[in-house]
Each structure stands twice: as C-alpha cells, then as structure tokens.
Amino acid sequence: MREKAPAAPSTLPAEALFAACDETLLPFATTAELPAGGDIVGQGRATEALRLALGMKAAGYNLFALGPSGVGKFTFVRHAVEKAARRWPTPPDWCYINNFAEPHRPKALELPSGRGRPLQQEAERLIEELQQAIPAAFETDEYRSRKSAIQEQFKERQEEAFSALQAQGRENDVALIKTPMGLALAPTKDGDVLSPQDFEQLSGEEKQRRQDASERLQKQLEAFLREVPRWEREQREQLRTLNRETTQYAVGHLIDEMKKHWEDLPAVLDHLEAVRADVIENVEDFLPKEQTPQILIAAAAGRAPQGPIANPFRRYQVNVIVDQQQRGNGDSAQEGAPVVYEDHPTLSNLVGRIEHIAQFGTLMTDFMLIKAGALHRANGGCLILDVRRVLMNSFAYETLKRVLRSGCIRIESVAESLGWSTTITLEPEPIPLDVKVILLGDPLLYYLLSAYDPEFSELFRVAADFDTRMDRDAAGTQAYAQMIATIARTAKLKPIDRGGVARLIEHGARLVGDAEKLTTHADTLESLLREANFWAGEADAGTIGRAHVQQAIDARTYRSDLLRARIQEEIGRGTLVIETEGARVGQINGLAVIQLNHFAFGRPSRISCRVRLGKGEVIDIEREVALGGPLHSKGVLILSAFLSSRYAHEQPLSLNASLVFEQSYSGVEGDSASSAELYALLSALAEIPIRQSLAVTGSVDQQGRVQAIGGVNEKIEGFFDICVARGLSGEQGVLIPAANVKHLMLRADVVAACREGRFAVYPVETIDQGITLLTGIPAGEADEKGGYPLGTVNRAVANRLARFVRKAVRLAREADGGKGNRNAKSREALR
C-alpha cells in the first residue's frame, strides 16, 4: 500500500482555540430588557413527547421524562404541563360521607368543582341547627305532656295492679314487702308483720286464711310480674313513636331547606334523606344526657367510649378530601386542572391514608379521618413524580401501577396490601381516576424499567428524552440569552449585562466541551448565576457583568481544584516525573482527564515503551495488573494491528513491546492515549527520541488515523499549567486530533500564550504527522514496493522490525539444528 506522508501540521491560530460569543447577537444592554417567561430551549424532542402525552387521552399515555439530574426536567415539565392544564376543564371536588348502612364503607361523593366546601359547611350548620332544634322540640310542653302521659299511664297501670294486690293482701292480713331478694309475702295483724311466734299463736282458721290468701297472691303476683316487661315494651314503643314524630317535625324543614340547594345533585339528596332517617332513628344522641354515667355504662358494656370519634354528630359531617377551589401543598393554580408534584411519594402520600385517633388506649377511626393522597389531588390533571423516590419508597411503585391499571384510587395501608391486617378498618369506596402521571428520572432508570418491568412500557408509553446540549448558532445563542434572563428573573437575581450573558454562553459551550454547542444543564447555569450575583453584590454592581461571571467561574474552580493543585505541585517538585524539555527514546507525555464531581482537569502522564525480540506481542502493563479498562486495552491492541499492517504484512512481527503509564497508581480507561502509546512504540523501535516539550492526546485506528477524544480542553490546560510553572519556552505544545479543533474552548491564558507564540496547539490527522512533529524527522512515505526512504522514522522502524525477523529466523534455524544447549538457548530467546 502506498501512503502519502503529510507534512507536519502547523499550530492552530488563537482564534481557533476559543469561540468567543458574538455580542452583536445579543441586542440588549441587560437581561432586564428581555421579555418575561419564554420556553426552555434546546429540548425539541422532549417538547414533542410532552405534547403527545398531554394530548393523548388513551390509557397508558403517561410520560417518562428522562435526562440527567439538573438538566431542568422538572421546571420544563411543570411549566409545560401547567400551561396545558390551564385549558383543561376543572375536575370535580371529592368528599367522603358516612355510609349509614355500612359505616365501615364510607361513600365517595363527586361534586362539581367548588361545591364540596359549601356542602361541608351546610352539613355543619345542619348539625348545629339539629342540636338546637331537636332538644327544643323535646323541651316543648306538648312533648313533655305527651311523654308524661305515656309514662304516667305505665306507672299508673303498674301501681294500680300493685295496689290491687296490696289491697287484696291487706284484706286477708297479708303484706307485700320489698326485700333485698325481691317481693315477699308476710302475714300481718293490724298492719304489722307477725313474727313466727305471734303467727303460731293465731287460730288454725286464721293461719289457714292467711296461707290461702298468700297462695292466691303468689299466683297473681307471678302473673303481674310477667306482665310488667310487656307493659314496659309498650311504653318504650310509644315513647319511640313519640320521639320519631317529634324529631320528624323538628328535622323535616331543616333538611328540606337544605335539599333545595342541592336539587341538581341526586347523590346529595340521597345522602340527606339518609341523614334524616338516621337522625330520627338516633334522636337520643341530640338530647342532653349525663356524661359520667354514660361513660361508665359504655365502658362496662365494652362499647366505644366518648371522645372525638364517639361524637355522634360526626357521622353527619362531610369530609372534603379534594377541594378544587383551595388547592394546597404547592399544587398548581386554581384555574383549569390541577398539577401536583409529590416530592415524598410514599404509599400513603400517593393513595391517601386512613388516620386513627387514640382514645382510652384504643385506635379509632371513621370516614372523617380519611386523608387524600397526591393521586386524589391530581385527579383530572397531572401528577409529577421523581421515579427514584417512587422506587425508594416501599410499595409506592407497585401501588402507582395498580392504580393506573385499575383506573381508580383505593386507599389501602401497607398491612392491608400484604394481608397482614386482621382488624376491622375502613374500606372507603374507590374513587375513579383520570390522571396523567409524569415520572422524572435519569436514563438508566428508564432503560432498566423498560427492560425488566413489562408493565412499565404499557403504562408509560411516552418518553421525553432531555438533551444535555443544544446548537450554538445565532438562534441558539439568542434563545440561550432568553433562558439566562428567565433564570435570573425567576431566581430574583440582578439583571445581567450583555458581556455577562456572553461570558455565560461561552462557559455554556465550555461546560459541554464543544465550541459549537451549549449545555442545557440549567441547574449548573443557575448556580453559577447565583454566585455571579453574589460577586456583583460584593462589588456593589447593579448588574452582573462579564467580570462577575468570570469571578464566579474562577472561584468555583479554585474551590474544586485542590487535587489538581496537589498533582501540579508534585510534578513541579519532581515527585511525579513529567519532562517538558529535551528528547527521549520511547517516552512521551500523554494526557488524561480526572473527573471529580462536576470538576474535570487534565493530568499529564509519562508513557514509556520498551521493545525487544519477541513473538509479535504488545504488552499493556496496565492491563496485566488489572489497572487498564477494556477501552484502553482495545487501543493498545490496535497498535499491534497498525504495526502489522504497516511494517509486517509479509513477514512475522517478531517483537515484544511493553507499554506503561509511569507513576500511575489508579485505573486507566479510554483509548485517548493510544496515539501517544503508538508514538512511544515507534520511537522505541526506530530508536529516535521524542520531544518532551510536547504532549499528545488522541486515539488511533488501524490505519494510523488520529481520532477525536473527549476532554480536550482540560488536557491542553493540564499540560499548559505544568509548562507555565516551569516557564514557557515557546517549544511547548499539545498535539490534538484535528477532529477536536471544533471542541476547543480554552482558557484565556492559554489562548493568550498561543497568540504570543509561547505555546502551541497542533491539530493532527495521522500518526505520520504526529511522529514528524514529535521527532523532527520526516515520517517517510512508502514507495510502490512498500519501502520507506532513508532518514525517515518509518524506514528506521521497518529496519528494526526486519532485524528482529532475521534474528528470529536465525535463532529458529539454530534451534532446528538440534545442538543441545544452543537449541535451548535459542528457544529461550524466542520466547
């Protein structure tokens, strides 16, 4: 194969090292001039996905907004959803009311928006009025007279019967006496009870008369006592009828009056009728009673004691669990449908809960203690949840799916869900659900759920994929400025002047590591803006300017770069050996990037290579000691392929090379050092020294083309800082893949040094370009036979490899000659 060796690349001009923001694209003095609001930019896909999800009414069209944390998913989604929800119809209010037939199954009552609270208030008023009207009715003379008449009738009946017995006894000298054991009959004389002795002194006839009378009275007394319960029952029934009539009279007009306000709602009318029937049936609850004996009797009978729950009037109250007119907990504005964000999505916070009150050591509950969950509040609108928090809360995810599947909210505790609860509790009537659920989370969770939960994809059919960057064209720049203005206004920060905005845009490009893109990580931008605002305040400036933004960037870097400073310090002190002048065979400065949270910096690393006769292996020492990651190993293996294809396509590759990152004590990953490793290998084979004033980054393919890598800015700056510390010589620089030039957003001091010719950045397309630059010797172009000209790097490499081959062949022949020790030696040499 004939290759053309390109000339060594020239240095990049300073303009290519940093894409300054074109301030003519920012037609304002400060962001205060920009209009309020404005959509979040750079999220076209997410916008479309959201529009589809919000527009689709079919089941399962819930949304998963995926993107890294801080990209502004929540703000974007909430803003967009609230905007849409304002146009949706306001959903109904929901109440729980007592189920008089089955009190443990409270009824759900749906009311038009805004009518829940009035119903509750009217119910309260009704109770108050009943508490006054009913006792008043029972205090009337008419009621008392009628009641008294019934009681009198009963008493008179009893007394008459008893008196008749007494009179009959008296006629026969027998007294009816009350004793602790009941009623007893005793013989008398002249009204006094006779003692046994006096009785014995009576004549036989007198005794017999009294005994006969006693026997008759016994029978009559038994008959009388048997009648008494029936009379009592009759009396109770008469009193009950009287009470019902009285209550009906007192209650009727109050409930009829209330019903007039709710004629359009049959469910409410039914409830009021149930209230009427229950009040009539339990009218004694409204009548004054003595508290202490009641409690004692209730406790003795094992019934519920007195207390808030035992308040008999609670059952007529209305528990408004969703009031669209008074949305709370940070829920959306009251017009349109609700948008609810639940930041603590526990099971009970999602589907509601049934609270209990401790009374006399017993946990009591009723329908008034049913509390709404986020799903109730969001019903008819949208519910936004953080998927990580949902997954972190036991049963929340499963319950959310169950609710979405069933289309109704059933309040259940954990114990009930697991079937552990054996005590009687409430079973509130489920409430129909129509809600759009939006989950926010990072992509990993989305793809894991998609892969491992079959139901997930059915319930969350729409994914809004949030991009972390956007185009930095004219439109993008202006939209970005608008976004910065919105962030500042929302966060109540000082206005930002044009220069400040421009610097923020430049930094936005630097954050994403691309001169042609901008980060959409709104959280980072906002925190930077807040810090710039602080510095502007410190300087008593009315606006945030370029200098304040730069100060914030510098301060942030300073706060984060302790490790970088330590490494730089150790390099400066010679503890970590990085040479920045002279030339060495088989040694080159590679560049790595260390990422600490949100701060990344470049760290130069010395890569060395040694070669000897062998069986065509390039040994990656990092891999051998398990410090090299798979991508790094892949890069090293490519080197073997490159050597074979270029220099040994018709002969064996008889070398053994070892590559190592010197003074590296942690893992190495990525293939961005593969070009540097190849340069070191070529240098070692050709025995031509490499300039140590240069550092190299870039991956390489099997054809020797240099490919783009990440973190190019940090890598250049990392080497630059070492050189600055030692003094810029004008010889120093960094070789980067030409494909990375568009990513350059270097620090101002680096750009200035390059502009002044004290530092250089070289865009490299091929290994031949790079090796020429690094050695100062042409790489050499292969002729038609594949040979390289004398005085080139490639010729030297090819010659060295050919020598290895010849040596290997000779040794192999000697080994095949079968001469004892010499053979053994030869075989050993070949290993």
């Binding site: 205090e139 003379d141 008392r144 008294s148 009198e152 008179e156 007394e159 008459e160 008196s163 007494q166 007294a175 009816l176 006496i177 009350k178 004793t179 602790p180 054991m181 009941g182 009623l183 007893a184 009959l185 005793a186 006094d192 009870v193 006779l194 003692s195 046994p196 009785f199 006693s214 016994q218 007394l221 038994e222 006592l225 048997r226 008494v228 319960p229 004054p288 003595e290 202490t292």
Partner: protein, 298 residues
C-alpha cells in the same frame, strides 16, 4: 318572714349544725353517701348516720321460710332459713363502711347508729331543730310503701309537722349532679325559712338560685322580690355571691315549678313543708314525679 341569723360569729349564723342521714337496706348507696358527706363538709356540720332496720323486715326474716318473687324472672322461690337475715346484716356492714370511709376522708366528725323501727319515724325522732335530716327517695323499701296520692315529699311534710326536725332533704336517685337550685317561694314564713335553708345548702361555687314566685299579683311579686334581694344581700359571709333569678309563676303553682326544674336540669327544689301539704292532687303528683331532690323546710 323570719329574720336571718344574727351576724358576727359565723358559727352562730349556721342554720344546720348536724346532718342526720338515715338509711335502710333499700336506700343505701355509695353515691348518696358521698353526696351527704360532701354536704356535711360544706356546711361544717357534724354527721350522724343512722341505719334503720325495718321492723317488718326483721320480723319477716325470723320466719323459717320466706317466699320471695324476683322481678327479674317473675318467679317465686323459697329462701333458705336465715338467708334474708344474712343479707340484711351484710347491707348494714356495707353502709357502715361507706359512711366511715367518706367521713374519714373528709375529716368529718361523725357517729354511726343502728336502730330498729321505721325509717322516717326513727330519723325524725333522732333529729333536733338545727339538724338537716337526709333521706333517700327510696327510703322505706320495706313495708313503707307510698301508694298513689301519697307522694314522699307530702308524707314527709306531714311527718315534719309533728317532729322536732325542721328540714328534711329527700335525695332523688336520678337527680342531675351540679344542677341549679330552684326555690318555690309563696311569701309565707315557711318560704322565708326555705330561702335561708336554700342559701345554706347552695353550692358556694355554683351559687345559682332560681326563685319561683308563686303569685299572679304584680305588687305581691315585686314585694317578695324585694324581700328576697334584701335577704340575699344581708346573708352573712355569702352576701352578693349568689346569682338569683326571680321567675313569676302566675297561677301555675308547684306543678309549674317542677316542670321548670326539669327543664333547667335542676338538682334540688327547696320549698316549705306547708306548701307541700297545701297541694291538691295535681301538685302532689308533680312532686311525686319530680326528677330531682327536694328539701322540705318547716
């Protein structure tokens, strides 16, 4: 009207020096004991408790076999010999213990006595003019049966007329606790005595008295009202602390007073014994059916 007790030494002003409470087996209960002890403490009076063994019951208990009818099962049964006597003895012991415990708890000066006879007669016989005699509404569970037309207050009022005692408090078992006090006032000397007795037993802290003026004549009502206000103002040590509300009952009599007491949830009606005796059937029946305690004053 009788003049209020002379001022000066509070001991001299006390109307009730001794509280005499009489029980029999049917009227003893812990609630009544506590109430009586509390009243004696408030009145700073000596407590004399008397358990009256009903003579008829005692004679009945001597019979070898007593046939008793249970109201619960409506059947009769032959009681074993001596069974009734043992039950009566245990009731006596229980009464004694309850009285002693209540008196000692309140550090009252007290005495306990057992008598045989009939409850009302024995209680009045043991009482002096400055004693407050207390009986339970259900007193006389033995042969003392109050038939129709014989309301206990009226029976007691009759007995009072012939006794040394001047005041009998009849405790109603269903009287509401802490209710107000209603005084039936007809301008008589008995009514004035009832007014003073009412002031004496009224709760110092509660201090609410409803005075029912039983007259239809405006001038008479106004005159009585002035008398009552003056008595309240002059009442030593407690002057002005009572809240008295005067209510006119033109032509409605004691029946209306009883109705009002029920409506107010009153715990006590105070009236002169003569007023009780003067009632015809309707008034007597109202007194018989009233749901609170009654203090009769002579």
């Amino acid at each position: 009207m009788s003049a209020p007790p002379a001022g000066g030494d509070p001991e001299v002003r006390r109307r009730f020096r001794r509280v005499v409470v009489a029980f029999d087996w049917g009227s003893e209960n812990a609630g009544a004991v506590e109430l009586v002890a509390a009243l004696a403490e408030r009145l700073r009076a000596e407590l004399k408790a008397m358990f009256v063994e009903d003579i008829d019951l005692m004679r009945l208990a001597e019979h070898p076999h007593v046939f008793a009818f249970s109201a619960l099962s409506a059947t009769g049964q032959q009681l074993a010999a001596d069974h009734l006597r043992r039950v009566l003895r245990s009731r006596l012991a229980r009464s004694r213990e309850a009285i002693e415990a209540a008196a000692e708890r309140r550090q009252l000066k007290y005495a306990f006595e057992v008598r045989q006879g009939r409850l009302l007669a024995e209680a009045l016989k043991a009482a002096e003019s400055e004693d407050l005699v207390i009986l339970s509404w259900t007193a006389g569970g033995g042969t003392t049966s109050f038939g129709p037309g014989q309301a206990p207050p009226v029976v007691i009022a009759q007995a009072l007329a012939e006794a040394h005692a001047r005041s009998v408090l009849l405790l109603h078992p269903e009287a509401p606790a802490g209710g107000s006090l209603v005084l039936a006032y007809d301008g008589s000397a008995g009514a004035d005595a009832a007014l003073l007795a009412a002031l004496e037993v009224a709760d110092e802290d509660g201090g609410a008295i409803e005075v029912a003026l039983l007259s239809g004549r405006t001038a008479e009502v106004e005159r009585w009202a002035e008398t009552i206000r003056q008595t309240l103002a002059d009442y030593p040590a407690r002057g002005g602390r009572f809240r008295a509300r005067l209510i006119a009952f033109p032509g409605d009599g004691l029946e209306g007073v009883c109705r009002t007491a029920a409506r107010l949830g009153a715990s006590l009606i105070v009236l002169g014994a003569d007023l009780a005796l003067a009632q015809h059937d309707t008034g007597r029946r109202a007194l018989e059916r009233v749901g609170c305690s009654v203090l009769l004053v002579r």
